[in-house]
Symmetry: C2
Subunit: 142 residues, 2 copies
DNA sequence: AATAAATAGTTACCCAAGGTAACCATTTTG
DNA sequence: CAAAATGGTTACCTTGGGTAACTATTTATT
């Protein structure tokens, strides 16, 4: 078997245990991973529109609408007024900011645990490879 | 941001474009990725029981039952008789073997394309890291 | 040998997370 | 100013997973 074939297989066999575990941790905050990923971006970028999220997450607009609505209902996210009346621009609410801090603590802890024994250099390699692969996939796809 | 935080984010942002693209390719064979992953294992291990698959795939038994039934309906997979009457042991059918060959060709081609510019050494590093991470996740989880 | 426990699989439900098609409002462009 | 583009929503559908409760069979215990 060639290395690249191993790569894809390994990539996907990691997904299920990984996302299961993260969802289990998010239970305490009434969140699922798909919701968390939006909060993650809002933490990084302060505020975003649904279309921006849609492109970042690589999912369709209706999916974003639904997930954002769930976050608004949880009071983790709020809409902010903006000139263009078509746009829905959102940011983390006060509660949301707090939840992000909490979840980050939990995730950082967990992430460090499961990365034990992997050098910073190797971590950097993996990140670079995944970035490249993603770019390649998207470039070919569209 | 620490490296490990980058790692997790990168890992998940790759997933959606990746699985979308693979599903698009599998359309020609009336397959979805979840079904393909079972055929992949059957190709590697010749024959497997549903419980074995369940453990390998890290999904519950009912999920395996459903997916396998779909593959049997497609005539890509067939049951083989076995001493223990509780067990359902399956293997690729003749058609299934053929389909695996075809899909492999398509995937290998695609995979090589999107891995361009990544050295064999880096690919090996990524594989090793993902294996380690998966083991760590599963060890912590249970 | 008879019973209890374990194992393999199925059935009947439920839910998260995505998708498409069609649409409305608003803004931008020709 | 009409046409096209953009941002978002609604309605409906699908994949792919889950849990609880069950049957059938095999294995272990008494």
């Amino acid at each position: 078997m060639d290395a690249h074939r191993h790569f894809f297989h390994k990539y996907f066999t990691l997904y299920r245990p990984f996302v299961n575990e993260l969802n289990r941790m998010l239970e305490d905050y009434n969140l699922y991973y798909a919701q968390w990923s939006i909060m993650y971006y809002l933490d990084v970028y302060q505020s975003m529109t649904l279309v921006e999220l849609s492109k970042m997450l690589y999912v369709e607009k209706p999916t974003v609408t639904r997930t954002v609505n769930a976050l608004i209902k949880l009071d983790y996210v709020e809409q902010i007024p903006v000139r263009d009346k078509r746009e829905k621009r959102i940011q983390l609410s006060k509660t949301g900011v707090h939840v992000v801090q909490e979840v980050r603590k939990v995730f950082d802890q967990y992430e460090q645990e499961i990365m034990t024994g992997i050098s910073n250099e190797d971590q950097a390699t993996v990140i670079r490879v995944m970035e490249t692969v993603r770019d390649n996939i998207i470039r070919k796809g569209d």
